[in-house]
Symmetry: none
Subunit: 215 residues, 4 copies
Amino acid sequence: MSDIRRQRVPRPVREQQIIDAAIRVFARRGYHAASVDEIAELAGISKPMVYLYLDSKEGLFLACLRREAERLLTAFRAAAGPAHSPELRLRAGLLAFFTFVAEHRDSWVVLHRQSSEPSPAITAELARSRRALLAEVTGLVRADIEESDGPACPEDDAEFVTYTLVGAADSLTDWMALHPGEPPERITLRLMNMVWVGMRNVLDGEVWTTPSGTP
Amino acid sequence: MSDIRRQRVPRPVREQQIIDAAIRVFARRGYHAASVDEIAELAGISKPMVYLYLDSKEGLFLACLRREAERLLTAFRAAAGPAHSPELRLRAGLLAFFTFVAEHRDSWVVLHRQSSEPSPAITAELARSRRALLAEVTGLVRADIEESDGPACPEDDAEFVTYTLVGAADSLTDWMALHPGEPPERITLRLMNMVWVGMRNVLDGEVWTTPSGTP
Amino acid sequence: MSDIRRQRVPRPVREQQIIDAAIRVFARRGYHAASVDEIAELAGISKPMVYLYLDSKEGLFLACLRREAERLLTAFRAAAGPAHSPELRLRAGLLAFFTFVAEHRDSWVVLHRQSSEPSPAITAELARSRRALLAEVTGLVRADIEESDGPACPEDDAEFVTYTLVGAADSLTDWMALHPGEPPERITLRLMNMVWVGMRNVLDGEVWTTPSGTP
Amino acid sequence: MSDIRRQRVPRPVREQQIIDAAIRVFARRGYHAASVDEIAELAGISKPMVYLYLDSKEGLFLACLRREAERLLTAFRAAAGPAHSPELRLRAGLLAFFTFVAEHRDSWVVLHRQSSEPSPAITAELARSRRALLAEVTGLVRADIEESDGPACPEDDAEFVTYTLVGAADSLTDWMALHPGEPPERITLRLMNMVWVGMRNVLDGEVWTTPSGTP
DNA sequence: AATGAATGAGCCTTCATTCAT
DNA sequence: GATGAATGAAGGCTCATTCAT
């Protein structure tokens, strides 16, 4: 602002700046209510640059989705890969997730909280990235079963557990925002505490009954 | 079209018809992308009626939020109230929740999947209804602790468990949509199976450790 | 302007007013340079009405094309139909044409002077209306041959004559604008004078040679 | 792209390349719809070069008009000049015209098919070049009269004939595009056949009458 | 109770044009 | 001689909202 001379920034850098700004605005307002004007202003450039580099509002949103999905998945895989027991791998993955969201809250909102589907391309990309994350988690869940049990776990059950886990983690994301001091490690531990035993129950096909035995 | 006499419908009925239509459209498109035109058409009336009865797009949305939040809470309370053990009350509450969502998917989407907050009034109303549901669940969670333990449960832990539970239930809502035949009872049972034991762990302040004992 | 109350005009009337204004603007500026803003202002309404009634700039242009092509063709056919000799029919048709253009210069410009092809739909509609007029003229030209000669006239020659005739008439449209007092009747007579004999020459396949016989 | 050394081309050559590209684009799209971007790309250079050499979109268009009007006029004069009888001069001029258009269709489109007048400078230049061509033709037409008759030909009549002739020739340009094999010579001959006699009629002030004598 | 007609404001997008290198 | 980076301005289109009947 104080230096009025037009900044001359190489294209790849500018593109990232624009995507950074877009993620903030898309997260705050949602896809439809977000205006390219606001994104451009936050990025410190004029609107035509956005169109020159990212093609359209849709293209811009897709670029955000792709970049952040990639980042999150990479972080998740890098964390969950090395450990040996499925239990430790899940724990590491969750920690990576909460760490990522703690640092990139807006990215997670953009990736996971788009309620409507503005265009086929966006619908597809959202589906793609969500499926990739689910697949990653399902992989860990399955690995756990196969190790401990035999082959008996039905497809459905692993999926059920995955949805439960991802939903819980997503919701804890809000809890985290309410408790800024809380380190991701503690959240991860508590979540493991809460679901680890139960996971086994479900995957083993146990049927919950009331303590008194009444169904 | 020209021959159908303009329907004369008493105001309260018309209002409900408009809200019904609005919920469908808001759920499908999201608040911003929803157009009053589409809502009026789906309700089978002209636009000025919408404004006459509900005042504005915002007023219309608020009416949707209020009516559906009320419905859901009522259903939840009615189910969770009578039973005696906290465990059974939670189970009944979850069943009521899944039953409600199975029958009113759009309502849940409107209540819980608004990614952005278009106006202070809406923000407030959303917060109010979400808080009410959370409070209901937290109540059950606390009741459980107090019965079994003593007063030792920290505020945070109950809230943590609540967020986990609500997030899981919300996410299972999607799983439910993927498995249309699945009865809400089975979903409820599996979810209880998965979280009931873990809840106790967390509320008792247990610290999860790796199987091998490494923290 | 002096009466500020919003005019309430029934839809069919407004549509014609909008098309009237559009023809003037499209003629003056060409399709691309014409702005919907200017059209709306000339029609004395706001822009959204244009879109409500005619759908888009393209739809508006198509409406202009259809209405004016219809008018011109109707006038042409009504004039050229009744007379008995082809010669008189052609004369009557040309008179109708010049009369139409004298009264609706802008329409002719819109119908015939669009240099570029902005969209497939417009290209198609322009082709359709131009072809219809050409067909009308070609019909008269052919009728003339068949009456006087035998069947020997090649397809190409009738078409050649038609293009010549139409091009001449179109260009005389400009001449007419330069000589405002000139009645359409005189223009028609002079044009008949100029082409009637030659038409026969071409249709009979005569080959022109220099007076001195040098090719 | 990165490896091709930037071409160093002397200014006059580059200018012609740019004008070549511009004519193609202006012909295809019309003045307004043509974009400087597309012209620069087709010319194989960057946009600032266009502005450096031709100053503005308007300047670019004017340069096109001037160059092509000059070319056409030169060809016309060179052809029509030498012959001795007006008849042969007209024939030679028409042949030159059709030959030019056969080879430079885009140029003729740019020169003669601009439906709107974007700026005073362009309006003036277009008028100038059209007038120059008309003057050339009118010259031939007058020469013919003066030779055969005497001074009696009214100004108007020569102009009328000129407009007819030019309009016919322009329209036959489209016919030519529809019949790619047709040599310009045949078109010229047929056009002469069609108008030569009629021209005399008009210039002599004859009044066309119906065969049966009814005016 | 109900609606056809109308609009101000805002958003996505593009284009001619310039600046700094 | 040549270009990548950047923008002011304007145009097409839509939407929430209101007026007159």
